[in-house]
């Protein structure tokens, strides 16, 4: 077999880049919580790597890309333990359907997506959740929500070009607007509500304890996102190059837009706003990276930066403690990016004379993704609440989850929460 070694090398590189995003996310999230809970915050990301990394080779791949069951999910037993995934009956390496490289590289690439999607959710439930419950949730949510969604969108299921909406226009989710960001953002909303608010939410200060960590985390996310988006071209080609450029242009525009929004509204352009704008732009361009022009990406990113900057304050008004704004950033910008394809796709978008078909299909898949994730996550979250329970004791929460749950503290002296007296959104 003569492999396309360029594609194989790029896909292995991309898989490695995407895996790095989850430790990057741990830094991004870890810096945003108080010093007494940074280790737990980071461990929720690392825990997701552990749990999902194990179940992906057992049944995750098979449920995503195995034999179709009703257009909703792959059969977990079809390629359980990657049987038949790597080698065919004759012992030859299975070729990826996406390019002339071994399919095992697709497994590598896809497991990293499953990991980060689960890890993203943890930002909604900072400081207050039993580690064991989180670890069980990670496995159960990946199994019943992520793998089916990946199958529906990327595995030839209901939301793919082969599904019922494909006759209107082929749905576009290049790298995970629905599967990753809408999915994780909607799940985060459910968990924030089911788990409940942190003690003191909205009254006590919960300031980010280390913004340099947040900025380093955002930088690592951006770097890893080149694998996420440009790797989703499944080759070292013009689509990968376009996705890379779009990923950078949209993200730069989103960062500026967030900073301007803050400067106008709050009076200062902040480092946390810059880091958040970066992530909002990365999220928004994810589904669109292969189908918009770099100038279209600027528009898409700028709108995402403004939308998410405005959305992060909603939790105070609506009264749910989405601690690190997974909803405001990932759900909002994920929805925007997915829908914006309907306007900005250069071949089928409304603004390019493509009519409304693409837009309609994008709205449909976005809505289905939201509803699917909301419903499934609610069931899982409520079952876990009734069985294992979500919350640590109030005493442990106030004293710091790092010490109470992990028997560690990140720093010799822990900043106390008594230096400020009120917050308002």
């Amino acid at each position: 077999m003569e492999w396309d070694t360029g594609a194989a090398a790029w896909m292995l590189t991309s898989a490695s880049l995407v895996l790095l995003m989850t430790p990057g996310l741990a830094l991004f999230y870890g810096g945003m919580v108080r010093g007494k809970s940074v280790l737990n915050m980071m461990m929720m990301s690392f825990g997701a790597i552990g749990v999902v990394g194990v179940i992906y080779v057992l049944w995750g791949w098979s449920m995503s890309y195995g034999a179709d069951v009703g257009g909703v999910v792959g059969n977990p037993f079809d390629q359980f333990g990657l049987s038949g995934t790597l080698f065919d009956d004759a012992g030859a390496a299975v070729v990826s359907p996406l390019g002339n490289y071994p399919q095992v590289i697709d497994v590598a690439f896809q497991v990293t997506f499953a990991i980060i999607t689960v890890a993203l959710i943890s930002g909604a439930i900072a400081d207050r959740v039993k580690f064991g419950t989180w670890m069980v949730f990670a496995g159960v949510w990946a199994t019943f929500v992520y793998f089916p969604m990946a199958h529906m969108v990327w595995g030839g299921g209901l939301l793919s070009a082969d599904g019922p909406f494909g006759s209107i226009a082929a749905p576009i989710d290049f790298a995970g607007g629905t599967v990753v960001h809408i999915n994780a953002g909607a799940a985060a909303l459910v968990l924030a509500i089911v788990v409940g608010k942190r003690k003191g939410f909205g009254t006590e200060p919960m300031r980010p304890h280390n913004l340099t960590m947040v900025m380093l985390g955002a930088a690592l996310l951006w770097f890893g996102w080149f694998g996420f988006n440009a790797g989703s071209a499944f080759g070292a080609n013009e689509t990968a190059g376009l996705a890379w450029v779009n990923t950078t242009s949209a993200t730069a525009a989103a960062m500026l837009a967030w900073l301007i929004t803050e400067k106008v509204r709050d009076g200062s352009a902040t480092s946390l706003g810059g880091a958040s704008g970066v992530v909002a732009g990365l999220v928004a361009i994810t589904p669109a990276a292969g189908s918009v022009s770099p100038v279209g990406a600027l528009v898409l990113g700028a709108v995402a930066g403004v939308l998410s900057a405005l959305a992060v304050g909603l939790k105070y008004k609506l009264g749910f403690d989405d601690s690190l704004d997974v909803v405001g950033v990932h759900l909002v910008s994920g929805l925007w990016g997915t829908v914006a394809i309907g306007f900005l796709a250069t071949e089928t978008g409304l603004f390019y004379g493509g009519g409304a078909a693409q837009l309609a299909v994008q709205v449909i898949i976005a809505v289905i993704a939201v509803v699917f994730s909301l419903v499934m996550t609610t069931i899982i979250a409520l079952v876990l609440k009734a069985t294992m329970g979500w919350r640590i004791s109030e005493e442990a929460e106030v004293g710091g989850i790092d010490l109470a749950v992990h028997s560690e503290s990140a720093y010799e002296t822990i900043q106390q929460g008594s230096v400020a007296k009120e917050i308002r959104a």
Binding site: S268, A420, K421, R424, A425
Partner: protein, 112 residues
């Protein structure tokens, strides 16, 4: 003996230190402090949420002096720490019963 304590703006520390050295003071203790007086706190904004921070960073300077030197040292600290704006801090003196130099065991003025 007196203990002269100043709680001052952190950015005035270098000037206060130099002024005390110039006045012949041979030792001092400096620590980070937080607090507020008439200026109250300040506002910080994180993702659009405003936090009113009551306690603001200050530096505490402590100097042990002989009784007769106390007014001069207070004067030196006040002059060096002053910006004329609200939030400059306070300086006060405390009477001490005894001071011991740990290395030699000397007491009183000999230990200063």
């Amino acid at each position: 003996m007196k203990l002269v304590t100043g709680v001052i703006q952190p950015h005035r520390l270098d000037d206060v230190k130099s002024a005390l050295e110039a006045a012949g003071i041979r030792g001092m203790t400096v620590s980070e402090a937080s607090g507020y007086g008439r200026q109250k706190g300040h506002t910080e904004v994180y993702r659009g949420a405003e936090y009113t921070v009551d306690l603001v960073p200050k530096v505490r300077v402590e100097v042990l002096v002989a009784d007769e030197d106390a007014p001069t040292v207070v004067d030196v600290v006040v002059k060096a720490a002053q910006t004329g704006r609200i939030g400059d801090g306070k300086v006060w003196t405390t009477a001490l019963d005894d001071v011991v130099r740990v290395r030699t065991g000397e007491h009183g003025d000999a230990a200063l």
